[in-house]
Symmetry: C2
Subunit: 333 residues, 2 copies
Amino acid sequence: MGKQKRPPRLNDVAARAGVSTATVSRFFNNPEMVAPATAERIREAVAATSYIPNLVAGGLASNRTKLVAALVPEIAQSIFNDTIQAMIDELSDDGYTVMLGLTGYGDDRMLKLIDAAIGRRSDAIILTGLLTNPDVRNRLRAQPVTVIETWGLPPDPIDIAVGFSHRAVGEAIAQYVHRRGFKRPFLLTVEGTRAQMRHAGFIEAWRKAGHGKPTEERIPVPMHFSQGRDAFRRSRSLAKRPDVIVCGSDLLAQAVIIEAQAAGCRVPDELAVIGFGNVELSAEMRPSITTVSIDGARIGRMAVSVLRRRAAGEALESHNFDVGFTLIPRESA
Amino acid sequence: MGKQKRPPRLNDVAARAGVSTATVSRFFNNPEMVAPATAERIREAVAATSYIPNLVAGGLASNRTKLVAALVPEIAQSIFNDTIQAMIDELSDDGYTVMLGLTGYGDDRMLKLIDAAIGRRSDAIILTGLLTNPDVRNRLRAQPVTVIETWGLPPDPIDIAVGFSHRAVGEAIAQYVHRRGFKRPFLLTVEGTRAQMRHAGFIEAWRKAGHGKPTEERIPVPMHFSQGRDAFRRSRSLAKRPDVIVCGSDLLAQAVIIEAQAAGCRVPDELAVIGFGNVELSAEMRPSITTVSIDGARIGRMAVSVLRRRAAGEALESHNFDVGFTLIPRESA
DNA sequence: CTGAAAGCGCTTACAG
DNA sequence: CTGAAAGCGCTTACAG
């Protein structure tokens, strides 16, 4: 590799087809503009030369790159995977290329990736994680690029947001726990702004339902299975032994259940468990896990549909799109 | 967004710093070539204008895009995630942008993505899934791009391969099963060329150890948890009730174990289980799962290191890099 | 429906 | 260490 003869250019195709480069360019980008007979000659020339358009040159000339940057914290068992998958599926169908950037959970990586996305003149930047840094938010606002924040509904969106209210999720869980008659919830809250919002929603609704302050614990990110296991063990030595553990993620809920079962503690009879995220395994576990489902694929599709409307020059009636969520009662609580 | 004043160009920075565009270009790409005082003036001009280099124009002019295309089948609980993560981490440090393409398990998506990767003049294409189509393999060979196939060691690599022998994995599992004294293995083989190679390796080594043909079942991709559960149930009504189920993936192993436990069948006492992949959960399950570990992160890092050597113009002593694998005995078998 | 030509924003020999 | 200028491979008004 690396030492082949130079790849064919538009030039070569045009010469072979006996037309100008402009016509070949139109053949690729506005096929309806070229006469059928001409198109046929070009098609042959393309095949004969194995020509693949240079999108770098094309992007520079046209000022449209058909490149979308998707910036996500991580992909290993990420809750965002359905969104990413759906987004990439849809965008690929539209001829877009997706540049996936992994931001981790700090700001600096995110900054470098945003610069890379802008530097490559992406048509759009889609974020799944939360971008808190106000300078960067403003910097993005100053850029001629569509920015879509997903999985949340920030009060001051950079541009467009597609997500749901994390506070409402917390409230819904608290109401469910209350309705089911549990008295001593133990909250396993994951670090991070959004998890905190769910937590705050829970606390508020729980109080409103007439209860006192629940016991709780903070889990650092990235989460690990062992943290759920350890949390279960600690929960057994709490003064107020919990009757339900409200987990910040399905992974933690799985860990709690597996550890409980290994310890001979019956779920949900002796201890109920609630998760968040509705990963595939949660429906399959024994017992199956009561959790909150977010339609991640829908978020992805909606983000792309907004993008399409933007690309078509359409004005948007709103910049905040709420996809909602569903609490799914199952066996574990 | 989309209606801001035009972004600053190299031009604007150069004017402001009182130098030529060539010097500003060097400031970014060969900083050691510009005098400290000049560099300082440029630094200020860049800050003042919030200039972000246009990598599209740069790529066209320099014929180096610093773009790497990583083509993977999927990301939802993919066995390749560690490789992808490590690769992106390393490449980001080198200033590369990674375009992640999701190929699915068919050929046409892969073809489109390869064209996109070539069209954008990627410096390299990294594949984790298997590309079988010989036409496409040859087409890639004809392209001035570094191609790295990972997670396998094809007999006819397109360019460079970093992986391990799937056949050897199958053999190692068969030898382990034999050594542990199991007599009636039940193979849950996943569809796909590589899984078939592991399967073939098992069969051969199992025969060599003096055994007959094991019972088996084929699991279609994409895998689902329920397939493992169903397989367990069917295994209980087999004439030759298996003493160990050899699963094509840890996910299937988890499903078998969870279903076995729910059915009151003790693992490993009544039924042993072996997985493949060593996902995080496998060490954490009760019982923990005996499985084969592939150092996916190492594959990613090695792919990048090969890429670096290629980029540095170094000649490679070999085009096949074997990272091996490790069978990890745990509680389940 | 098609072509000649300018231009997209950089990089890089070449000369000094 | 720096600059003038050609060129990277396309797209797209403009004219016909």
